[in-house]
Amino acid sequence: MMVQTLEKGTAKQMVASSIVYDTQKLNLWYGNHHALKNIDLQIKENEVTAIIGPSGCGKSTYIKTLNRMVELVPTVKTSGAILYRERNIFDANYGVEELRTKVGMVFQKPNPFPKSIYDNIAYGPRIHGIKNKKVLDEIVEKSLRGAAIWEEVKDRLTTNAYSLSGGQQQRICIARCLAIEPDVILMDEPTSALDPISTLKVEELIQELKQDYSIIIVTHNMQQAARISDKTAFFLNGEVVEFDKTDVIFSTPEDNRTEDYISGRFG
């Protein structure tokens, strides 16, 4: 099948339906700062794709471009294309709400709403017009089970989500994301604010979630990328230096810069 590191112009044949995101010659500027340079990346469904790189390399910018969140920055300009399921998300008639229904996001710091656990999860479905209590109950349970936190909170669904631990709050945020039944989950350093045990739980959860979702995770923790991802993209100075199977990136990377970074020689 496929894979591909387009940075050297070696696009290989891929099965179109298995590709979730096809980024083509993406450039992005914050004002005059050229933050992403000619990014070519193809992200496959039901895989965990990790984005690694030193601070300022463009990895968070890239992931925020995938759901067009980056447009919230007023000075942003882009060129090139990002095809999500073969449709360019930059097309004028592509509604950002439609995109974000399909592409959920989990952030660095758990950010539950100051509401009950139940209302956090039901928030998205309600916005999408679901009012039926029974249906909402089912969605809440399914989402909390999917985020591996149902057993911990099932008896206190009316409790404020803020009362939970950081690790639990992050899994509530993942459950909130699952409630709208997305296709892709973007994760921007989802465990960097968590303790080791909570981190492990979220990592295990990511492994389970990839059966049903495609996951793209930005992480500063290279061991985490090595543990949980199928593919890894190494970003440096706004460019993709190397994109390959994680096993290759962490054992025999092709580019010396990748080896130097993962071996702690810079970054």
């Binding site: 090595a226 962490f250 054992s251 702690g264 020689r265």
Partner: protein, 219 residues
């Protein structure tokens, strides 16, 4: 991710330990052959004593590598290097064991008169020691080309082995009274041949370290 400065310092220390271990093992093998030719029982006993030191060095390398992996979580070339250091340490420790085995044969032969084919072992010893020094040099300088030439030398050692064993067997057939020493020298011959095989292993490990691929130099 490794803390580079500390990691490099610890890694260099382990590499220097491996060099010490390797030099000690090669010296022991070389000396064990000298003591065999000289019927030097005292020397043979010293070989056995030195081996304890070689064994301790191998254990220290293993312990330090395990600590480095546990504490620094190295990847890619760093991780391969640590694995290779452990494996080469095992190769060298094994060569130290062969030196001990040769020393034991020297003790068994004692002051008996040597049978004639023993002279053939000298050239085989020289070739084997040359291989070991060359592969250690290739490893120290990470010289792939030098590593690749090891296989040819190993073929030569294998040929010598075949020739010497045949000669020893003929000696045994023609002089049954010498059968005991024929057997002892056949073992010595085997220990040298196995030591040369370990040199080839080390060359393969160096190629794996540098290229991340497995090589079979003997094929």
């Amino acid at each position: 991710m490794v803390g580079r400065e500390k990691f490099d310092a610890d890694l260099n220390f382990v590499q220097s330990l491996l060099l010490d271990l390797s030099n000690a093992a090669i010296d022991n093998l070389d000396s064990s052959m000298n003591f065999l030719f000289q019927k030097n029982i005292e020397g043979a006993l010293a070989i056995l004593e030195n081996d304890e030191h070689i064994n301790r060095m191998e254990e220290e390398i293993n312990d330090r590598v395990i600590l480095l992996i546990a504490k620094q979580q190295p990847v890619a070339t760093d991780l391969r290097r640590l694995m290779v250091l452990v494996k080469i340490a095992a190769d060298m420790e094994r060569i130290g064991d062969y030196a001990c085995n040769i020393a034991k044969e020297t003790i068994r032969i004692g002051k008996d008169e040597h049978i004639e084919p023993i002279v053939l072992l000298d050239e085989m010893r020289n070739k084997t020691i040359k291989m070991l020094k060359q592969v250690l040099d290739a490893f120290t300088n990470e010289n792939m080309e030098e590593a690749k030439t090891i296989a040819k030398l190993d073929d030569e050692v294998d040929e010598m082995y075949g020739h010497i064993i045949r000669t020893l067997l003929n000696t045994g057939v023609n002089n049954p009274a010498q059968l005991s020493q024929v057997t002892q020298l056949s073992f010595v011959c085997r220990y040298l041949e196995r030591s040369a095989d370990h040199a080839t292993n080390i060359a393969e490990r160096l190629l794996y370290l540098l290229k991340g691929k497995h090589y079979e130099l003997n094929n």
